[in-house]
C-alpha cells in the first residue's frame, strides 16, 4: 500500500510539473492538440498508480514526452502559420454581413440549434442583430452584433472619460503586498497613514484595494459579518 502512496505522490508531482510546463493557456482555453495531451496525461498517470507491476518510468516517460512535444509544437505554431493551421485548424465565419453561411455550418456540423445556443450565450437573442459570427479553433463562437444592436459607447455619446487602471489588492488578510505598493508607486508610510486613519492596524485589515493614493477601499475584519 505504501508503494501505491509513494507512486501516487511522485506521479502527482510529475503531472503538476507537466501541466506547469504546458503553461497557463492549458488551464483555460484548450486547443485540439492540448485537449488530446490532457486526456492522454490523465490516463497515462493512473496506470502506474493502479498497477504496481508497471514501472514508474512507463508513466513518467510518456508524460514528459507528450508535454515536451506539445510545447515544441506550440512554439512551432507560433512561428509557422502552416503548423498552426495543421494542429489547431482555423477560425471559420458562420455569419458574414448578417447572412448565415450554411456551407460553413455544414462543414462544422453545426445545427441551427447549436448556432442559436451559441448566440444566446453571447447575449444575442435575435439572429438579425448579428453582423459577424466566427467559430473559433477552441470551439467557442465569437459574435459581433450590428452597430444598431450594440449598446452606445462613450465615444458614441461624445464623452471622453478618463482612462484608469483597475484597483489592486494592497492588503490581503492582514498581509501587505509590497509588489502592489511598488506597482502603484506608493510606500508603506502611506499605507500606515491610511490604515491608522481608519482606526486600526494593518493586521486588522481584511482587504484593502487601491487605484492610487486617493482612491482606495478598506474592509476591516470587524466590518465582516
Amino acid at each position: 500500500m505504501i508503494i501505491v502512496m509513494i507512486r501516487a505522490l511522485v506521479l502527482y508531482c510529475a503531472v503538476i510539473a507537466a501541466v506547469r510546463l504546458m503553461g497557463k493557456r492549458q488551464i483555460g482555453e484548450l486547443q485540439p492538440a492540448e485537449l488530446v495531451v490532457t486526456i492522454l496525461l490523465s490516463n497515462i498517470a493512473t496506470l502506474p498508480v493502479e498497477d504496481i507491476s508497471i514501472p514508474m518510468t512507463m508513466g513518467l516517460v510518456p508524460i514528459f514526452t507528450l508535454v515536451s512535444i506539445d510545447v515544441i509544437v506550440s512554439c512551432l505554431s507560433l512561428r509557422f502559420r502552416g503548423v498552426r493551421r495543421a494542429v489547431s485548424g482555423s477560425a471559420k465565419l458562420i455569419i458574414s454581413n448578417g447572412e448565415v453561411d450554411r456551407r460553413a455550418m455544414r462543414e462544422l456540423r453545426f445545427t441551427t440549434d447549436d448556432l442559436m445556443a451559441a448566440l444566446r450565450s453571447q447575449q444575442v437573442f435575435d439572429i438579425k442583430d448579428v453582423q459577424f459570427a466566427v467559430a473559433e479553433t477552441t470551439g467557442t463562437i465569437s459574435v459581433c452584433p450590428k452597430k444598431s444592436a450594440q449598446p452606445p459607447t462613450a465615444a458614441d455619446l461624445g464623452l471622453s472619460p478618463e482612462e484608469s487602471d483597475p484597483p489592486v489588492m494592497v492588503i490581503s488578510d492582514g498581509k501587505v503586498s509590497a509588489a502592489a505598493l511598488r506597482y502603484l508607486g506608493l510606500d508603506e508610510k502611506w499605507l500606515t497613514k491610511i490604515v491608522k486613519a481608519q482606526g486600526c492596524q494593518v493586521s486588522d485589515v481584511f482587504i484593502m484595494t487601491a487605484a492610487d493614493a486617493s482612491d482606495y477601499t478598506v474592509i476591516k475584519r470587524g466590518d465582516m459579518k
Binding site: 510546463l21 507491476s53 508497471i54 514501472p55 514508474m56 514528459f64 514526452t65 508535454v67 515544441i72 512554439c75
Partner: protein, 123 residues
C-alpha cells in the same frame, strides 16, 4: 522560450535514455545468450555445468534489478522463476537442463526484443 528550451532538453534526455536503455538491454541479452550457449555446449559434451549456471544466475540477478525500471514486473518474475530452476537441474545432471536453458534464452531474447522499435513492438 524557457519552456521551449526545457522541453527540448527533456526530449533529448528521454531520447538519450531510451537509446541507452535499448543498447544496455541488447548488450546484456548478448551476454545471457552467450552463457546459455556455453551451458548447452557443456551439457552436450557431458561436462559439469554448475559454474556456467551460477554465472548465468548471477548475471540475471544483476540484470533484472535494472530491468525492473523499464519492464513489467510480471515478465521479469517469469524469467526469474525459470532461472531459479537451473541450479537444481544442473546439480542432478537432469536431461531437462537444455530445455530449461532454451526457455530462459527465449524469454530473455523476447524481453530484449520488446525494447527495440520495430513494427511488431510499436504496433
Amino acid at each position: 522560450m524557457k519552456r521551449l528550451y526545457l522541453s527540448i532538453f527533456l526530449l533529448a534526455l528521454l531520447t538519450a535514455g531510451s537509446i541507452f536503455s535499448a543498447a544496455y538491454i541488447g548488450r546484456e541479452n548478448d551476454r545471457l545468450q552467450e552463457l546459455c550457449a556455453d551451458i548447452r555446449e557443456e551439457v552436450l559434451r557431458g561436462e559439469d555445468t554448475s559454474e556456467e549456471v551460477e554465472a548465468l544466475c548471477d548475471e540475471w540477478e544483476r540484470h533484472c534489478k535494472i530491468m525492473a525500471f523499464i519492464e513489467n514486473a510480471a515478465n521479469i518474475s517469469a524469467v526469474t522463476a525459470e532461472v531459479a530452476r537451473l541450479p537444481a537441474l544442473s546439480q542432478t545432471n537432469s536431461p531437462d537442463l537444455i530445455q530449461q536453458v532454451d526457455a530462459v534464452s527465449a524469454q530473455c531474447a523476447l524481453l530484449a526484443e520488446r525494447q527495440y522499435p520495430h513494427i511488431r513492438s510499436v504496433l
